[in-house]
């Protein structure tokens, strides 16, 4: 069969495919999960992803387009999407060659849950999660799992917490909401976010509307402007994309927590997602002296 390259769009998904006689590559974008943050757009080594239209009001979704002629199904977008909106599969299996061959790192989503601390009746985390990724269940002594909270007290009943890790941007809301200190979350994007209040137009809530994390941004009663709560911000940058006034919302990623790799593709992604400085810091830490030198030469920092 000759090579078929397909692109199919439904209201909820965008699918790209290479169908070969003996192999099948598929990229699936779940539009429902996409927040329009542009992490993929920045990271894509082939510059194949474009945000065609930014969301303008709460609940509206970004319009994302992926160029079939440019996409090489490498899966870097899949790896980096904080919300797990993109999935690349080969022959139906979600095994990414860039990860397998250590050409690209994986984000480390460090989430520790100590269910032994959980009171049986507590569902705080489940209710707090802005993306609805936490599911609480109960396990009886004989290993049966109950989905609904048991009406009466049973002996040996244990709380079981399932978190959809692939989709978790690690905002730490659950950690803060947990009354028993049973959850510990470490962010994978670290950075800084700042709204210059003097420039921020009164009454505009564009950034707040698109922010996927409830509580990371809030409207102040006092000045009717949006303020930041850095504790919960995941530094995805969706807010920065939509802000109508230039240089009002400043967002910088300083560090990305990932599995260790030596890869030019990662260096470039890091340079674009964070900054050349952050990238060179990481190179220094890894001791990649030669790469560092060539990067510094390219950026004109040294000996150009």
């Amino acid at each position: 069969m000759p090579l078929k390259t397909l692109k199919t769009a439904t209201p909820k998904t965008l699918t790209l495919e290479w169908i070969l006689h003996v192999k099948n590559y598929k990229l699936n974008l779940n539009k429902e999960l996409c927040v329009g943050c542009q992490i993929c757009t920045l990271a894509c080594p082939k510059e194949a992803i474009k945000i065609e239209k930014e969301p303008k009001f709460q609940g509206e979704k970004a319009k994302v387009d992926i160029d079939l002629a440019k996409c090489n199904f490498c899966g870097i977008c899949d790896v980096l999407c904080p919300f797990g909106a993109i999935k690349v599969t080969v022959n139906g299996e979600h095994i990414l060659s860039v990860v397998e061959k250590e050409s690209f790192p994986q984000l480390i989503r460090e989430i520790q849950v100590d269910t032994s601390k959980c009171p049986i009746k507590c569902v705080e985390c489940e209710e707090a999660c802005p993306l609805g990724l936490i599911k609480i269940g109960w396990m009886t002594a004989d290993g049966k799992i109950l989905e609904a909270k048991p009406k009466r007290k049973r002996k040996g009943l244990k709380v079981k917490i399932d978190i959809e890790k692939e989709r978790c941007p690690c905002c730490r809301i659950c950690e803060f909401k947990c009354p028993e200190d049973a959850i510990h979350v470490r962010k994978f994007f670290h950075g800084k976010i700042l709204i210059h209040q003097e420039k921020c137009p009164e009454g505009c809530t564009d950034c707040l509307d698109v922010c996927p994390i409830t509580g990371a941004l809030y409207l102040s009663e006092e000045d009717k402007k949006v303020h930041v709560n850095e504790v919960f911000c995941v530094y995805c940058g969706a807010c920065k994309v939509v802000c109508p006034v230039e240089e009002t919302l400043e967002l910088k990623r300083t560090k990305i927590i990932h599995t260790p790799v030596r890869s030019g593709a990662w260096n470039k992604a890091l340079e674009r997602l964070a900054s050349p400085i952050e990238m060179s810091k990481e190179l220094k830490a890894k001791g990649s002296q030669k790469v560092l030198e060539s990067v510094e030469k390219r950026l004109g920092w040294k000996g150009a």
Binding site: M1, V22, K46, N72, C74, V98, S103, K268
Partner: protein, 814 residues
């Protein structure tokens, strides 16, 4: 120098009249001819011989030159196509420039075609001699041009034909550059599993040959490169080539493949007909030559894992840029091959729509052990082995709506696939072949067909009208007509294989433009002559081999490669190349291009032999000029002269022919290769026709200036005929006949408007085989001339004459 000497001297012409045994003397009155010739101006010596071409006859000529100080020689005998070269050598032996010789064809054009009217034939022969003497008076000595030859060759295309051409030339001791567009040489043959009819493994026999090419000290492979331009001429071509970046330093790459192992990126492998994938750093196939990896930057994510894997070898360079090189070669062999037609546009068979419909080349990659399935024939829809396979022949080929020609090798490779399937899966697979004809000529082919039949394949003669897919099983239903049964049939198959046409290689147009090659209606390159110069391109020093000329199987391509190498060696083995001096020369003082933008000559030259630069006179590249004279006829300023066929010479012939009773004569301008040869054949075949015609030979009908026609009519010719090679492809100068046609198509209505009866000016296409046609044309025109009547012709001429005289004033004729 010689020219000046001759001009200063009064012409002393010797006429030698041949009896040709009784061939001439049996009809013509030789004595009368001798006496007549003596009366012609500047003729100082006349001699008749029994056989002028025999040694004693030739000695008579040499003696005449010596004893009578002849400086021009006319031999009245047979056709110049027969013995012009013989007598040129004869006069040359007597220290006379060979171009100071002219022939009067009184055998084919008189004695042989007018045997029953000897008196009229003799009169005609006199005029033929008179015309030759008139031309001889104006002949100029010409020196053969010699150009040095660079004894290196360029072979374009590294398929089996190009490889063989390169190897043969290299073995002869010539340096060969083998240019290949792809990453590796090998061509289509390297894609194949087995070869018919012997079932040898293709790469097993080609692989060693590829290695030989790669290792040969005289061969330099330039792969992954494009041809940019070619200038110059035979023996002296300048070739510009762009080497595309592989992002690998070829000298450092050991071909170990460690980079490929660590590369995370895959993309569809075109080499595998996109059935499988290859890495972003890889070779298209394991046996590639040169064994140098290539990074495809369209897919590479630049993780540099390959750089780490390559390590100390340091063969990878992401900064590599395209590099342009220039080569100088003496000969070029074009072996650019073919492409396989992918029938996406054919709605009938569902290619591209149904997963289990594939082309034969895709099937080839499936059944090949080194292919993407490891030699398992499996369906794309479910990965299962098919239990029934239907082959459809002539998809695109022999189809008047697509490619009307037969693609030559499809019947045989389908038979091969049938045999392979049957031998591999035995009774586990049912095979159907839908065919129009099985073409199994050549050695061992018919026996192979028999073998396929004996293995139990079903051969169904008939066209498949439609293929439909069963959505649940993805099996295919073929609707066809079984011509043997004479009724429609339906066959269900798990897989359908289409034997699609071989089509001109993508980029052929570009190659044709760069090398000034011509392409036939089918898009394949045209050879110089379909029978006698099948390996020569129309441009000297350029040769064709393999499927770029038309689809060919392996042995045929190999033979052509060797043949083209031998042809190229005829050039490369000489220190210099001689060029006939019958070329065009531009008078820079007359050329319009100096003051205005003209360039008509360059545009009309079939060989691209004329260079035009702004504000400079046109420049003929002598070594590229073939001497057709088309530019001479086209030049609006009469600034170009064709040596040995000058306007003055042709005008002199015309005047000699029409001096007496012009109204009774047909004046003909015949091209040397077809129409003159056709007239010769009419004589040789003794087809009798009225002795009314007086013929002037030109090399190509493209040389026939409209002024020639006007002059003939001005002088009162009864009829005018222009004879040319047949359209569209017979012209020996590619397209001179087309240029003549355009010119005459414009002239004819103008003449009619001025009052010329339309039948009095005629253009005819006569091949060298059409003696009958030529005789018929002369008969017909003579009848027409007589029907019109002398009086009417004279009256028309009287009316035309002042207008024509005015038109020809610039020629200084009247």
């Amino acid at each position: 120098m010689a020219e000046k000497k001759i001009e200063a001297v009064e012409p002393r012409i010797g006429v030698f009249i041949c009896h040709c045994g009784l061939n001439i003397a049996g009809v013509l009155d030789i004595k009368e001819l001798v006496e007549y010739a003596k009366t012609l101006p500047h003729v100082v010596y006349v001699k008749d011989n029994r056989y002028t071409c025999a040694d004693p006859g030739q000695e008579e000529i040499r003696k005449g030159i010596r004893e009578h100080k002849l400086n021009r020689v006319v031999v009245a005998a047979c056709s110049p196509r027969m013995h012009e070269l013989t007598f040129r050598r004869t006069v040359s032996d007597a220290n006379l420039n060979p171009f100071l010789f002219e022939m009067a064809n009184i055998r084919e054009f008189s004695s042989w075609c007018h045997p029953s009217t000897p008196k009229e034939a003799t009169e005609k022969a006199k005029e033929i001699i008179k015309m030759a003497v008139a031309k001889a008076r104006l002949l100029q000595p010409l020196e053969t041009i010699e150009v040095p030859v660079i004894n290196k060759a360029l072979v374009i295309g590294g398929g089996i034909a190009g490889m063989n051409a390169a190897l043969d030339l290299a073995e002869m001791g010539f340096k060969v550059y083998l240019l290949e567009k792809g990453e590796s040489i090998g061509g289509h043959m390297a894609q194949l599993d087995k070869t018919f009819p012997t079932l040898d493994c293709s790469i097993c026999i080609e692989g060693p040959k590829m290695v030989d090419v790669g290792r040969h000290p005289n061969i330099e492979i330039i792969a992954f490169a494009d041809l940019l331009s070619v200038s110059g001429f035979i023996g002296n071509f300048k070739v510009r080539i762009r080497k595309n970046p592989r992002y690998i330093i070829a000298e450092n790459c050991t071909g170990c493949g460690e980079c490929k192992e660590v590369c995370p990126i895959e993309y569809p492998n075109e080499w595998d007909m996109n059935l499988g994938v290859r890495k972003a750093i890889s070779v298209p196939f394991d046996q590639a030559v040169p064994l140098v990896y290539t990074i495809n930057k369209d897919y590479c994510i630049e993780c540099y894992k390959c750089v780490d894997a390559c390590g100390a070898r340091q063969a990878i360079n992401f900064e590599q840029k395209p590099e342009e090189i220039e080569l100088e070669v003496g000969a070029i062999i074009v072996a650019t091959g073919y492409d396989i037609y992918l029938p996406y546009d054919n709605q009938l068979y569902g290619y591209g729509k149904y997963s289990n419909v594939i082309t034969s080349l895709e099937f080839e990659r499936l059944i090949l052990a080194a292919g993407p399935t490891g030699g398992k024939v499996v369906r794309a829809s479910d990965g299962q082995k098919p239990h029934s396979v239907a082959f459809i022949q002539c998809v695109g080929s022999r189809d008047t709506n697509k490619y009307p020609y037969c693609s030559n090798f499809c019947c045989m490779y389908t038979l091969k696939h049938v045999v392979q399937l049957k031998e591999k899966y035995k009774d586990d697979v049912e095979v159907y072949v839908f065919y129009m004809d099985i073409r199994s000529n050549f050695k061992g082919f018919e026996e192979f067909y028999q073998r396929a039949r004996e293995l139990g394949a079903n051969f169904i003669r008939g066209r498949v009208s439609r293929v439909l897919e069963i959505p649940e099983t993805k099996n295919l239903i073929l609707h066809a007509e079984d011509m043997t049964l004479g009724q429609p049939i339906e066959v269900e198959a798990d897989m359908v294989v289409l034997a699609t046409a071989a089509i001109p290689k993508k980029g052929s147009e570009e190659i044709a433009r760069i090398l000034n090659l011509t392409r036939g209606a089918d898009g394949f390159f045209m050879e110089s002559h379909p029978k006698l110069k099948p390996l020569d391109a129309p441009t000297d020093g350029i040769f064709l081999a393999g499927s770029c000329q038309a689809p060919k199987d392996i042995p045929y391509s190999v033979s052509q490669g060797s043949g083209a190498a031998a042809r190229a060696a005829t050039v490369l083995s000489r220190p210099t190349w001689k060029i006939e001096p019958i070329v065009s020369i531009v008078d820079p003082n007359k050329c319009r291009n100096v003051t205005a933008k003209c360039g008509i000559c360059a545009e009309r030259c079939p060989y691209g032999a004329i260079k035009i630069e702004e504000k400079k006179p046109a420049q003929v590249i002598t070594a590229m000029c073939h001497g057709c004279g088309t530019c001479v006829a086209e030049c609006p300023a009469d600034a170009i002269t064709q040596m040995h066929f000058t306007d003055a010479q042709i005008f002199a012939q015309t005047r000699a022919a029409l001096e007496t009773n012009p109204e009774d004569k047909i004046l003909a301008f015949l091209c040397n290769w077809c129409s003159y040869a056709g007239a010769d054949l009419a004589g040789t075949s003794r087809f009798e026709y009225p002795p009314t015609i007086r013929a002037i030979r030109v090399m190509c009908s493209g040389r026939v200036d409209r002024d020639f026609v006007l002059e003939a009519l001005r002088l009162g010719a009864g009829m005018v005929l222009v004879g040319a090679c047949h359209l569209p492809y017979d012209c020996h100068y590619i397209s001179g006949n087309w240029k003549m046609k355009a010119r005459m198509d414009a002239l004819a209505p103008m003449l009619q408007k001025l009052g010329l009866s339309p039948e009095r000016f005629r253009v005819e296409y006569v091949s060298a085989a059409e003696g009958v046609k030529f005789a018929e044309i002369v008969r017909e025109m003579t009848d027409q001339m007589r029907t019109l009547g002398k009086e009417k012709i004279k009256a028309e001429n009287a009316k035309l004459r002042p207008i024509l005289e005015n038109m020809l004033k610039r020629k200084g004729t009247s």
